[in-house]
């Protein structure tokens, strides 16, 4: 005879089937099931899902590039057909949307990276925006360089 606590096991061992007694001391907890559309319920959740989905836009551009390469390998006519299709309003809209998502993807990535990698200098923690900043600087610099490459007259 160790302790006198009545446990579920004790009740079962005693063979009691008194429903009232069980219900009285085993209150039914309310458990709500999360709906499949949980992510629509809140602005922050929606932004998160969009952030995750933005990786699809990266995939889109990769696939597009693959098709571009394929068209290149099939000669000038094929390539011209490819670029024609790119000029259709549907493709332009799709690519514009995908581009916005890629920007969103990049910005959220840069902003979140310092959280995973705290940088310490002189014993104090460097503020997050300063850790994210070099990414932005590099991004703008590389983009500027590429733009210059593309826009200069040969």
């Amino acid at each position: 005879m160790t302790d006198q606590i009545m446990t579920d096991q004790t009740l079962i061992n005693q063979g009691t089937t008194d429903q009232a007694a069980r219900a009285e001391f085993h209150p039914r907890w309310y458990r709500k099931r999360l709906s499949t559309w949980w992510w629509l319920g809140e602005w922050h959740y929606l932004t998160f899902i969009l952030r995750e989905l933005s990786s699809l836009s990266v995939a889109w551009f990769v696939v597009l590039t693959l098709f571009q390469l394929r068209a290149l390998s099939h000669g000038l006519a094929a390539y011209l057909r490819f670029t024609d299709r790119l000029e259709s309003p549907v493709m332009i809209t799709l690519n514009a949307i995908a581009f916005c998502f890629v920007m969103f993807h990049t910005i959220t990535w840069f902003n979140l990276a310092p959280r995973a990698m705290p940088v310490r200098m002189g014993g104090k923690r460097v503020p997050e925006f300063l850790v994210a900043a070099p990414n932005y600087v590099l991004w703008i610099a590389v983009s500027a360089f590429v733009a210059w490459l593309l826009l200069r007259t040969p």
């Binding site: 005879m1 160790t2 302790d3 006198q4 606590i5 009545m6 009285e24 001391f25 085993h26 209150p27």
Partner: protein, 572 residues
């Protein structure tokens, strides 16, 4: 939790239950801010810590207990460090210590200004490691089981389900904390209702020194939230409505730019609170909607120091008063904070009833005497928690198992609770009404300054409230998580404790430490160098007796603060 770990270490075969009406990390220790004292520096000594404690307690401390306490405090704090407590450090990696009110040397260990929080969480997380410790979270103890002259367990309500059952044990340690909620304006959490004190008294144990209630000088108005003494230790000033550091008028030294130990704002809490009342009587405090206040000035410390040493203070001021201490003055007033009295124990945490132990604020050993020094209560929990744990574990070995009559008592208790609260209809008194009246009565009768007439009035009113309490009615008759039942039982405990406080205060016809009688303003060592012991008779009346204070090496002297105090210490 400290007691549980100590007991588990004495004998790993013991099964140890930690029964608490809240989850362990909600215990009020979590809110302690300032620090924990333990001699650490080479130019400090145990005797100095002891003398500071004894003189701070106005010689009501049992000196053998204090000597044991100051010796074990640094070891316990070190043990906590070994368990992972994130104490603040010096640049070289050693533990940092800071000054604190009433101490002649810097010996207060601290973890930012959330010392209690870090200590509690460290202890709680460490208990998770010990297999023999079983937790009964959210179990409310309503009664101690006593049979054959010893305590053999408790009756508790499992709050979640409402099931009332006995938890039998070979020894019981009370660690239920203080009773601040007996008063209307307190730093204490809602859960501090003097549960353990009332339980012990009802089981026949005496309560000791119940008249000594500490008012902390700096609480925020309305909420009562504590602004830690550390703010003064770091150099804060207390100013009246004219911007004058008024403490210099009350024999607490002369104002200096930097904090001086045992002087001015670093004087003992009872003297500072009493100074406030006198300033208030002179009309030099600032009236506000929630009572008069004085100002705590931290502006001269600068943002860097405040953010490094007092970040929680800044957070609390901004959140609850919309005030930034870096730029503005903080309104503060004295607030009930700590109960020096409690269940009477010896230096091992044992009460006069076999099998019953107590440690922490619920107990009175006494090491705090008539006034507790800041940063002594956290190590008190550790030192006496460990002592009580060890003593209880040793007592438990070889005790007999509880018998049927103990369980019969438990059934009686279950029936009593059902009859008086759960199944009763037609009760006319509301819990909140009785509670508020009790709080007002105790504050008026046994506040910072007391008088025979105010105390007698309080005794009478409390007697009436006890009668009215028999007619209390609950809205909630359910079993599941019935917090109204818990509130009613807590009110019952608080009424018992309130009566003990006022009764002891009436009988002590002298002024000492936190107990100030306007009709007996002097200290009387001839008659009253003794603890008040109050027991409850079976008919509900109280009887007060006296137990002489244990004096070992420090005969009663004058409590000096300010310039002269260092000389007094050097003589010892």
């Amino acid at each position: 939790m400290r007691a549980a770990i100590a007991a588990a270490e004495v004998n790993p075969k013991l099964s140890i239950a930690v029964v608490s009406k809240v989850y362990p990390m909600r215990s009020h220790t979590v809110s302690a801010e300032g620090g924990a004292a333990g001699v650490a520096k080479p130019d400090d000594s145990l005797d100095e810590h002891a003398y500071d404690t004894i003189s701070g307690g106005d010689w009501m401390c049992d000196q053998d207990a204090v000597e044991a306490f100051v010796k074990e405090a640094p070891l316990e704090l070190l043990q906590l460090e070994r368990w992972g407590c994130p104490w603040n450090r010096e640049p070289d990696g050693h533990i940092a210590v800071r000054a604190f009110g009433g101490m002649t040397n810097r010996r207060t260990w601290f973890a930012a200004d959330k010392t209690g929080f870090h200590m509690l969480h460290t202890l709680f997380q460490t208990t998770l490691r010990y297999q023999p410790i079983t937790r009964y979270d959210e179990y409310f103890v309503t009664r101690l089981l006593v049979d054959d002259g010893r305590v053999q367990g408790v009756v508790a309500i499992e709050i979640m389900s409402g099931k009332i059952q006995a938890i039998t044990a070979k020894a019981v340690i009370l660690c239920t904390g203080g009773c601040g909620r007996v008063f209307p304006f307190t730093t204490n959490a809602n859960i501090k209702n003097g549960d353990g004190m009332a339980l012990a008294q009802r089981a026949g144990a005496p309560l000791k020194d119940m008249e000594y209630l500490q008012y902390h000088p700096t609480g925020l108005p309305f909420t009562g939230i504590l602004i830690t003494e550390a703010a003064r230790a770091e150099g804060g000033y207390m100013l009246n409505k004219d911007g004058y550091r008024y403490l210099q008028d009350y024999d607490l030294g002369t104002p200096q730019a930097k904090p001086v130990l045992r002087s001015m704002e670093l004087g003992p809490r009872d003297r500072l609170s009493q100074a406030f009342v006198k300033e208030d009587q002179k009309g030099r405090t600032i009236p506000t909607e929630y009572g008069s206040v004085v100002h705590l000035d931290l502006r001269h410390l600068g943002e860097k120091v405040i953010n490094a040493k007092l970040p929680f203070v800044r957070e609390l001021c901004m959140k609850y008063e919309n005030i930034d201490p870096v730029k503005e003055l903080i309104p503060v007033r004295p607030v009930v904070h700590y109960m020096m009295g409690g269940v009477s124990t010896d230096i091992h945490g044992a009460t006069p009833i076999a099998g019953l132990y107590a440690a922490g604020e619920v107990a009175c050993v006494s090491i705090n005497g008539a006034n507790r020094l800041g940063s002594n209560s956290l190590p008190e929990c550790l030192v006496f928690g460990a002592r009580a744990g060890r003593a209880a574990a040793e007592f438990a070995i070889g005790q007999k198992e509880p018998n049927g009559s103990v369980l019969a008592q438990a059934t009686d208790e279950l029936l009593r609770l059902e009859k008086q609260y759960l199944f009763k209809t037609g009760g006319r008194e509301r819990i909140a009404t009785l509670r508020e009246e009790m709080q007002k009565t105790v504050e008026a009768g046994a506040g910072i300054y007391r008088h025979e007439s105010s105390l007698k009035q309080a005794i009478q009113t409390l007697g009436e409230l006890q009668e009215r309490f028999k007619n209390v009615g609950l809205d909630d008759h359910g079993r599941t998580f019935n917090t109204e039942l818990v509130s009613a039982l807590e009110l019952g405990f608080m009424l018992d404790v309130a009566q003990s406080i006022v009764e002891c205060a009436l009988h002590r016809t002298e002024s000492r430490g936190a107990h100030q009688r306007t009709d007996f303003p002097a200290r009387d060592d001839l008659k009253f160098l003794a603890h008040s012991l109050v027991r409850r008779n079976p008919d509900g009346s109280l009887k007060v007796k006296y137990l002489p204070v244990t004096i070992t090496r420090w005969p009663p002297g004058e409590r000096k603060y300010g310039a002269g105090s260092h000389a007094a210490v050097a003589e010892k």
